[in-house]
């Protein structure tokens, strides 16, 4: 049981760190919290049986890094649109084409009176 909790906790902690560095960082809260809970459970089990606590410490370390990074990014994250030069060029070309197309269309006079 203890081993299972430690393995799950470790996987959650690694997942939280990986997600925290991607743009999907907000999702890292889910495995982060799960890893914390599993870490606490693992401590509880390890108190009953004597053994190495190095892995549990590692779980906590990874989780704290992930949560700190996610929180920092959530607070200071600013969104901005990337390179839109292509799109602007496309818009201008499209308008020129559209004017040509519209010249050949039958426009209903009643719409413009």
């Amino acid at each position: 049981m203890k081993k299972l909790v430690i393995i799950l906790g470790f996987i959650s902690a690694v997942l939280a760190v990986v997600l925290a560095v991607t743009p999907l960082f907000k999702i890292a809260f889910i495995p982060g919290v799960a890893a914390l809970i599993l870490g606490v459970v693992a401590i509880y089990f390890s108190k009953e049986k004597q053994g190495s606590k190095k892995t549990i410490q590692l779980i906590f370390l990874l989780t704290i890094i992930a949560l700190a990074l996610t929180t920092y990014k959530s607070v200071f994250d600013t969104v901005e649109v990337g390179n839109t030069e292509e799109l602007i060029e496309k818009e201008n070309e499209s308008q020129e084409d559209a004017i040509e197309e519209l010249e050949g269309l039958e426009i209903d006079e009643s719409d413009f009176e």
């Binding site: 743009p23 907000k26 969104v79 799109l87 496309k90 559209a98 269309l105 209903d108 413009f112």
Partner: protein, 259 residues
Amino acid sequence: MRYLILIISLFVSTISSAQNTSIGANEKLTFSASYNMSGLLTELAEVTMETSEVKTSTSTLLRLKCTAATYSKWDSFFKIRDLYESYVSPKSLRPYLYKRDINEGGYEKFMQYKFKRKTNTVESIKRKKRSDGSTWEEKKKIKISSTTKDLVSTIYNIRNLDIHKATPGDSEVFKVVFDNEEFSLNVKYLNKETINTNLGRKECYKLAISINNSTVLKGNNDNLLWLTADANKIPVYAKFKIPVGSGELKIKSATGLKN
């Protein structure tokens, strides 16, 4: 039967409007689109809705332009650069030309509809990019009803409805042509609601949008649109539910308003 149709058509037309009273010629609305990921909203893209005048040798039309561009942090994962345009009559907002040029994560598609009002048809051109880089084109002629519009002009026509005359529960049906198919879009006025937006605290008309026989928009009252309860009827907030999740659209700025 005739009376029934008359009553239905009267009911349907209770909130309709013919003249453009809400949309100016130099309007620019900017939105931020968020996607709901496991209950956490993530800002994904910037959506703009712009209007401008376009002159041809015989007439002046209104160009309704909608663009969507993902924020830079997403560009390396899934880059979206979409352009939707509709060229409409500035008075009645009836469309004459519709263009859609999308680039979504490498998937490129171009659609163009020329509305032939006299024959109630649409001449459509579809252009797609194959995986080897070459393009293929398909031309079609589609029969439409006299009131059918494209997607972009429908959004602006919803804004132009006389909602102040409507009572909660009233609805309007729009015929929309999209992907060479015609479908009915129902807009139902639910109630008035005051919400906080980036433009301040606004009293809004809450509308529910649904599509008949379609899987694009899910649910009946899950796709909601809030329009400010003033003469401009600015779309300040929208909530939508699609097959791959749900999201929302929030206004960031609005300039060049008509009223």
